[in-house]
């Protein structure tokens, strides 16, 4: 069982790691909805350091108004499970 499922409301963590990450700044701290559970993939943040640990990846959809304060489009982004927490 993955921690989240399609339809789960999730919030991207506010993190500012020194190294590589796939959690883009524009999504940090914002709430979206899981639209698809991808699979277990290696966490790139650790893989670049030679540490290979797979975890579930989710396609998460964010509304533009949530990300930018305006706009009617949405942005869909793959996020690794450790980037996410349950939406408050």
């Amino acid at each position: 069982m993955t921690k989240f499922a399609a339809g789960s409301r999730v919030r991207a963590r506010v993190a500012d790691p020194d190294g590589h990450t796939r959690l883009p700044r524009y999504a940090r701290g914002h709430t979206g909805e899981v639209v698809e559970v991808r699979a277990d993939w290696q966490l790139p943040d650790e893989a670049v350091r030679g540490v290979f640990r797979a975890e579930p990846v989710y396609a998460v959809r964010f509304n533009a108004a949530e990300l930018w304060g305006s706009g009617s489009h949405s942005v869909i982004l793959d996020l690794w499970e450790s980037y996410l927490e349950e939406a408050p």
Binding site: R22, P24, Y26, R38, A39, W41, V57, A59, R61, A64, L67, W68, G71, S72, H73, S74, V75, I76, L77, D78
Partner: protein, 194 residues
């Protein structure tokens, strides 16, 4: 390796990287040549266009493409070029327009779309596509009605997208190869209607 640009600093840097990979036993010169050969000779938007044309003609293929992009690519002989990542096809409808970007770098399915255009790799496109896609599309000459929902897919090296553009009018009566010729690389990225 080709020596055409051997005098450029980037070529020397690439060669040093290749030598490190080979020394570490991670690749051979032949494997690297084979990959480059595939990228520069067989990677083309003509391939993606063929998949789109087939989808327009064959609803069964369209369903398979939307369900499993990799399997649908392999069906038309593009399996080798789409190995190693998840290929997702996203379908445009009168209500929903999809476009792709890679905000991190420039990931997209090269085998099906050809080498990416320089604008796709530009900071301007990568930052603005997620922020104001409607304005970006307008600059490409694509004015969508306000009622059309825009979905921007931020790709990465694991998940790469192909836009399935709106079906061309008269597709039923039109030859598949003619339909394929209507589809452009920008259409497959979502910055053109087809």
């Amino acid at each position: 390796m080709s020596g055409e640009h051997g005098e450029l600093p980037i070529a020397a840097r690439v060669r040093r990287l290749e030598e490190r990979l080979i020394a570490a036993g991670l690749a051979t010169d032949e494997e690297l040549d084979e990959i480059l050969e595939r990228v520069f000779t067989s990677a083309s938007p003509v391939n993606g266009a063929r998949m789109v044309a087939r989808s327009w003609k064959d609803p069964g293929y369209r369903d398979r493409l939307l369900a499993d992009g990799n399997a649908a690519a392999a069906e038309l002989g593009f399996g080798a070029g789409t190995r190693g990542y998840l290929l997702k096809a996203v379908e445009n409808t009168p209500a929903v327009h999809n476009m792709i970007v890679c905000t991190l770098c420039s990931c997209y399915p090269t085998a099906l779309l050809g080498p990416s255009p320089s604008w796709y790799k530009s900071f301007a496109y990568r930052s603005r596509a997620v922020r104001e896609p409607r304005a970006v599309l307008a600059e490409f000459g694509l004015e969508l009605p306000d009622s059309t929902e825009i979905r921007v897919w931020d790709a990465n090296s694991e998940t790469r997208y192909l836009v399935l553009p709106l079906r061309a009018e008269g597709a039923d009566e039109t030859d598949e190869s003619v339909l394929a010729s209507l589809v452009t690389r920008n259409g497959l990225i979502g910055t053109a209607i087809r």
